[in-house]
Symmetry: C2
Subunit: 139 residues, 2 copies
């Protein structure tokens, strides 16, 4: 199988979602392409910004809302910044098998992505140590 991923968004961890959103508008001219959404699976709130390409790819700003959030340690350690790349895949189940065959390590379990209209989401660390989110493309 040859998988074909399609870049969906760039995840950036921030301390203050509203402040970061305002800065990206002011400095880069980026409008939000979504409302602010709670993602309970990761204990974060998120917002998507368009980057001059219509809906995708976008920037996802991510603010942890709890110390138990998956990105809380990243924020504390680094002060925030570039965190992950997310890709759309047309065949989600095949993509998972393909990534496993390529020695990527699955992180957690499949869940319905609150920021992606409930489409299924899974996370991997690739063999190259890249943190990657795969999102099931809407049929």
């Amino acid at each position: 199988m040859e998988l074909k991923c399609r870049l969906d968004h760039i995840g950036i961890v921030v301390r203050d979602l509203e402040e970061a959103k305002a800065y990206y508008k002011q400095c880069f001219g980026f409008d939000a392409s979504s409302p602010i959404v709670d993602e309970p699976a990761q204990k974060v709130k998120i917002v998507f910004l368009e980057t001059g390409h219509g809906d995708a790819p976008s920037i996802e700003l991510i603010q942890p809302v709890s110390e138990a959030s998956t990105v809380f340690n990243f924020l504390e350690k680094t002060g925030g910044g570039l965190h992950h790349l997310a890709y759309l895949v047309s065949d989600f189940d095949e993509a998972i098998e393909h990534f496993k065959k390529n020695k990527a390590l699955m992180v957690g379990k499949v869940y319905p992505g609150a920021g992606h209209k409930g489409q299924r989401v899974i996370w991997f660390y690739t063999a190259r140590k890249d943190l990657v989110e795969l999102i099931e493309e809407k049929k």
Copy 2:
């Protein structure tokens, strides 16, 4: 002035360009959209990969070719990974003034980007500590 940036590429620092390029092809299905190019201004070699959106945005793989490279310390400290976002701007000189007004710190000097057909390039640390590359859009 309202500036409008347009995402051009995501820079990822790697230890071995050929190995990383092969992995992105095998795992993600990404083809190279450029030859491997030497960028003497940064003492790196680079290659661009398409990410399912035609020419842009793309992933730029970056390998330092000298310990004096601007990304050598990043590679040693982190093992490599997500490094910067690069944006096309239509009015390059106005964009520089706009970023300065928004308290972004200019890093180095303007130079002709070897990976961008000699179009002018400048780097900034934004007030939010994001490392950003601005590229003059071809008229």
